[in-house]
Amino acid sequence: MKYHAAMREALRCELERDPAVFFMGEDVGLPGGIFAQSRGLYEEFGAERVRDTPAGELGFMGAAVGAALTGSRPVVEISFADFFMTCIDQLVNQAAKIRYMSGGQAKVPLTVITFGGAGRNAGPQHSGSYEAWLGSVPGLRVVMPSTPHDVQGLLKAAIRSDDPTIVILNKALLGIADDSEPGVEPIPFGKAVVRREGEHVTIVAWSAMVQTALEAADILAAEDGVSCEVIDLRSIQPLDGELLGASARKTGRVVTVQETVTFAGIGAEVAAEVSRRAFGWLDAPVQIVGPPFTPVPFAPAMEGFVLPGVGSIVGAVREIL
């Protein structure tokens, strides 16, 4: 199944399962989504439950919070993660805090799907992801599937969860496919997965960087005889500290790789987690690979320069061997 079809499949399944679920966003209804990610849902479930919104994210994100407070289970699409900036108050000050502020009376079963990530020459205002920001908000869950299988499983888990959950998909993965079928079971939050077992170094990646990390591991195996363990975080909030700690204790060396700037990012958090759990076992500082501290430039040559590729991962691993 393809990555965007997996999103559609999970939505279809949940819309069918639970009449309280509805889906809304810009162009997700009649037009079927700008990436064809919701094609057919409007026809199947109608304009009320698969709903085209005006181009005002603050309004419909807030409406989703209100609907979630009153018995519905909204799924909202924000087409580019950068547009969170126009509606983030409803996530940070409202959705995330309402249960807390209400002393546990209220729940906010809201799911937000967005497309993040760079590498598509979409320029500085259409290439962000913001997992570190949203992951640092108590009350929110954040997941980032890197495969069609995980899109299905994590999106279903998000929709069935009673907590506000952000599902960050990656534009660069829109073309990928795997052999998953409809009917993937929900994947519990907070469970990372080992994509490749290894002995000498742990590479921690998520979203589009998982594939890059696997390719780097191939090269390191072939050229250096180095065996890399590749971990796909999948869940950003909560992080799977246990798996990270265990792998770090095994290999003694950790490299993280991310496509967003590293300052106070998930790499730094993974490093802190690893350091807490495996300090005595570490033979080298955790290497945090990511772009330089710039916006994401438009021109392919520059964008390619800032985004970490196989080479930067291989380089970082070699540096600590």
Partner: protein, 334 residues
């Protein structure tokens, strides 16, 4: 307009009195250092929430503001649990986590006071949306002031409610100020009725110090929204007596304005009416007064007698999926 039933006219007065006495007591407790944080009082504005909420049913929902005690009391809240929340007690509506600006009662349809201007309006639109999706005839009401009207959230909410024809009643509670600056610093048109016109939302302006006028407008607006007529806006022009928050000395307000506040007193006005109509005499007023004062005193006693939130309670209610939440909520039910 139909006559308002005598009993309701009395109840309107009593609700306003309940808000007034609760807030006076709140002000006194704050001045005495018994309430942490800061509080915003709505004394002088009681007719607005009272008139509006009298037109609502139990299932209908509201979103309140940072100056929300009146809205929440008018929707039927328990004064004890409110006072406990202001005191940061475990028995408060938010188990002490929210305080004055964040009172919720899911049971009563209070979808939160809000410390962020312009945030409650989209939430209210969502309550209207879910009513529609669920085939319910629930109406969603949202209160906001002139200050909040400058926020993008209010615009997006009005536009969305109008595009989707949702059962939302926007109540613009215009008290002349936003924090320390007057209306015209925040709004470029004389009335929120003009603003509503920009969305094609039918709107009316009423004397927000006349509880019966507010009530009548609310009945009409709510009926329209409930019957599928889409959103409406009610502007209620009223008067803020106290400072923006307790402790604000209001040096920015003209002396004559401050001296003439009581001329607009919605309680006096309603009491005079009830007396003139023969519905209430001196003794009746006293009875009501005693009942409300006692209720407020009980609320204070309840708050004072309630257990402090335990420090570690801070860890509860972050996630529903942790299970702790449900247990925590059950505990605070009286």
């Amino acid at each position: 307009m139909k006559e308002i039933a005598p009993e309701l006219r009395l109840r309107l007065y009593e609700t306003m009195l309940r808000i007034r006495r609760f807030e006076e007591e709140t002000g006194a407790l704050f001045a005495a250092g018994e309430l942490p944080g800061f509080v915003h009082l709505s004394i002088g504005q009681e007719a607005v929430p009272t008139g509006i909420c009298a037109a609502l049913g139990h299932e209908d929902t509201i979103t309140a503001t940072h100056r929300g005690h009146g809205h929440i009391i008018a929707k039927g809240a328990d004064l004890g649990r409110m006072m406990a929340e202001l005191m940061g007690k475990r028995t408060g509506y938010g188990a002490g986590k929210g305080g004055s600006m964040h009172i919720f009662s899911v049971d009563l349809g209070v979808l939160g006071a809000n410390g962020i201007l312009g945030a409650g309006q989209p939430i209210a639109v969502g309550a209207g949306l879910s009513a529609k999706l669920q085939g319910s005839d629930r109406v969603s009401v949202t209160f906001f002031g002139e200050g909040a009207s400058a926020q993008g959230g209010v615009h997006e909410a009005m536009n969305l409610a109008a595009v989707w024809k949702l059962p939302v009643v926007f109540v613009a509670e215009i008290n002349g100020y936003a924090e320390l600056t007057p209306y015209q610093y925040h709004v470029s048109v004389p009335s929120m009725v003009d603003r509503a016109g920009g969305y094609g939302i039918p709107a009316v302006s009423v004397d927000g110090n006349d509880v019966e006028a507010v009530y009548e407008a609310a009945v009409e607006g709510v009926a329209r929204a409930r019957s599928g007529g889409g959103p409406v806006l009610i502007e209620a022009r009223t008067t803020r007596w106290h400072g923006h928050f307790e402790g604000d000395r209001q040096l920015y307000r003209p002396a004559e304005e401050l001296e003439s506040l009581a001329d607009h007193d919605p309680l006096t006005r309603q009491a005079d009416r009830l007396v003139a109509a023969g519905l209430l005499g001196e003794e009746g007023l006293n009875v009501l007064e005693r009942r409300v004062v006692e209720e407020v005193a009980e609320a204070v006693a309840f708050g004072r007698g309630s257990p402090e939130a335990a420090p570690e309670d801070a860890l509860l209610h972050v996630y529903a999926s942790e299970g702790a939440g449900a247990a925590g909520a059950a505990e605070v039910t009286r």
